[in-house]
């Protein structure tokens, strides 16, 4: 499978070059064409069912400019309109949940992974949903969600992006999620992450700020206990996006109480995924050469009083 993926990545490179002449032709790049080009060049086999695709907007519209982001919040959409950008490529949902909109009439028919307990998704008459939908329609925006397939790429673009943001690419140690960085303390590292990723209150840390660390494991996005149990024994500290308090958080606490000099930093899911989407913007620049493409930071959703 690994080899196959590499072969696909190679093929994708060739396809990218082949895509360039398209730019010189006078065929306008529509939202649907952009989606097709993503599907054909993503570098991994396209899987169905998938949450990836055009989630909202007119797919026949000509793309003027593209914004790539971890989450298409209203702030991002408003920024796009100011920038005369009409296509947004978003990792996370635009309409507040896995369904990207109100759930299908039969909840059993809902695709995929689900998540939160209880609530069945956004109500069709919800005022925030309707206002966002209206803003998107009035401004001629379209949103493509690119999540499942961007996550499948190797090497892991989210770990790679995070490492690049921290200037750690040269410290890669074997697997694409492991980096051996110059020795620092958990406290200094948490500060450095908060500064470079422009984090507000979303960053949370388990472990002694004075503990020395250098072997770093990266688990951006959401991760389950098994990933931490595999990674923490071979490193000093895991930098994660989102984990559960009764799973990886307690595991890291227990490692510390057992006398291990270890720690866990949680950045928040969206913040941890932002650098991976910056890499996605770089990739889309090559794939959609006829229009400007840029990355926009969705920012940390959280604050707390000082």
């Amino acid at each position: 499978m690994q080899l196959n993926r590499r072969q696909f990545a190679g093929t994708a490179g060739a396809a990218l070059i082949a895509a360039r002449p398209l730019a010189s032709q006078n065929t306008p790049l529509t939202v649907a064409l952009a989606m097709d080009r993503i599907r054909q060049n993503i570098g991994v086999p396209w899987k169905e069912p998938t949450i990836d695709g055009i989630k909202t907007g007119d797919e026949t519209a000509s793309v003027k400019s593209v914004a790539v982001t971890a989450m298409a919040t209203m702030d991002i959409l408003a920024q796009a309109v100011r920038d005369k950008t009409n296509l947004i490529v978003s990792l996370e949902p635009v309409y507040f949940g896995h369904n990207d909109g109100p759930p299908p009439p039969n909840p059993q028919a809902a695709p995929g992974r689900g998540g939160g307990r209880g609530a069945g998704g956004i109500a069709p008459d919800d005022p925030v949903f309707l206002a966002k939908k209206d803003f998107i329609a009035k401004n001629g925006l379209a949103v493509i969600r690119l999540s499942d397939h961007w996550r499948m790429r190797t090497p892991d673009p989210f770990a790679g992006g995070l490492a690049q943001t921290m200037s750690w690419t040269k410290y890669r140690a074997g697997s694409d999620t492991r980096f051996d960085i110059p020795g620092t303390t958990i406290g200094a590292l948490a500060d450095s992450l908060a500064n470079k990723l422009n984090v507000r209150a979303g960053i949370r840390v388990v472990g002694d700020p004075q503990t020395q660390v250098s072997r770093i494991g990266l688990l951006p996005g959401v991760s389950a206990l098994a990933a931490s149990v595999k990674l923490l024994p071979e490193c000093d500290l895991i930098i994660a996006g989102e984990t559960r308090e009764w799973e990886s958080v307690e595991y890291a606490q227990d490692a510390v109480a057992a006398g291990q000099k270890k720690g866990l930093i949680m950045l928040g899911r969206v913040v941890s995924e932002e650098p991976g989407m910056s890499l996605c913007a770089d990739w889309l620049k090559m794939l959609l050469p006829e229009v400007p493409v840029r990355w926009l930071s969705s920012g940390d959703p959280y604050w707390r009083p000082a």
Partner: protein
């Protein structure tokens, strides 16, 4: 009295039927046949908590949450893990035993969870639209957040929304749950929840509501902060029928610190 006998007394005194098929409310570490010298009730049987209970001479830990890091305390893939081995050995060597008390802390009437948190908040159950809704004199999200920080001693809770938004009605859930924006609700609170790609992503929802100036706010307390007070109520309840050994509420504590506010 053995740990097993303590569990038998809990079943007798619960006041509602004990679900014998529970996979949660069973012994998860140590030997249930050991003689109990003292009981520590807590939110989470972390190794640190077990070590502190041991130092205090309390060899039975009754914990709301997990011992081995997953809801089922499934240890089959953990047997080679150094932390798992350390924690297991520590319990056996020091005659510590851990019982989980989760489902039946919720089924006890009144629900321990609600009692504990609402008392700490100082809010009065309501008058508001629906269960677990609370109304209070009109204030701002910023004021509510500052008050919570003071009352609950949290270092790492998280807030979404405009600090100047007015609030007088909150929908509150605990643990892995979040309140609902029923009509009239301006603030939802809960312990923890997925940040994105769940059935309903309330953090991004509140963020976008704030953009439109709609009056919606969210406070994510943390799982521990939202549920820890329950186990103080559980300790009080245990003392009504466990008379021979000390019963203490011992905080496992908020697991995080944060280098940033903002």
């Amino acid at each position: 009295m053995t740990a097993k006998e303590v569990l038998a007394l809990m079943k007798q005194n619960l006041g509602s039927p004990w679900n014998e098929s529970t996979y949660r409310d069973v012994f998860h570490a140590g030997n249930p046949d050991i003689e109990v010298k003292g009981i520590a009730t807590t939110f989470m049987a972390t190794l640190d908590l077990i070590q502190r209970a041991h130092a205090a001479g309390l060899n039975m830990v009754i914990s709301h949450e997990t011992t081995f890091w997953s809801d089922r305390d499934d240890t089959k893939d953990l047997t080679a893990d150094a932390v798992y081995q350390f924690k297991t050995d520590y319990c056996l060597k020091n005659n510590m035993v851990v019982l989980r008390f989760h489902d039946h802390a919720h089924s006890h009437q009144p629900d321990f969870i609600t009692m504990g948190v609402v008392r700490t908040l100082g809010w009065t159950p309501s008058q508001g639209p629906g269960p677990r809704t609370y109304t209070f004199p009109k204030t701002t999200l910023g004021e509510v957040a500052a008050d919570l920080k003071k009352r609950m001693g949290t270092r790492a809770f998280r807030v979404v929304g405009d600090p100047k938004a007015t609030v007088s009605t909150a929908s509150v859930a605990f643990g892995y749950g979040m309140g609902r924006f029923a009509p009239g609700v301006e603030l939802v609170m809960g312990g923890e929840q997925p940040e994105a790609d769940s059935a309903l992503d309330l953090s991004s929802y509140v963020r976008d509501a704030a953009y439109f100036g709609m009056n919606k706010s969210q406070i994510i307390l943390g799982h521990n902060i939202s549920e820890e007070p329950v186990m103080e109520d559980a300790a009080n309840w245990l003392r009504t029928f466990v008379k021979d050994v000390p019963v203490q509420f011992v905080r496992s504590g908020e697991p995080y610190w944060s280098p940033r506010n903002g």
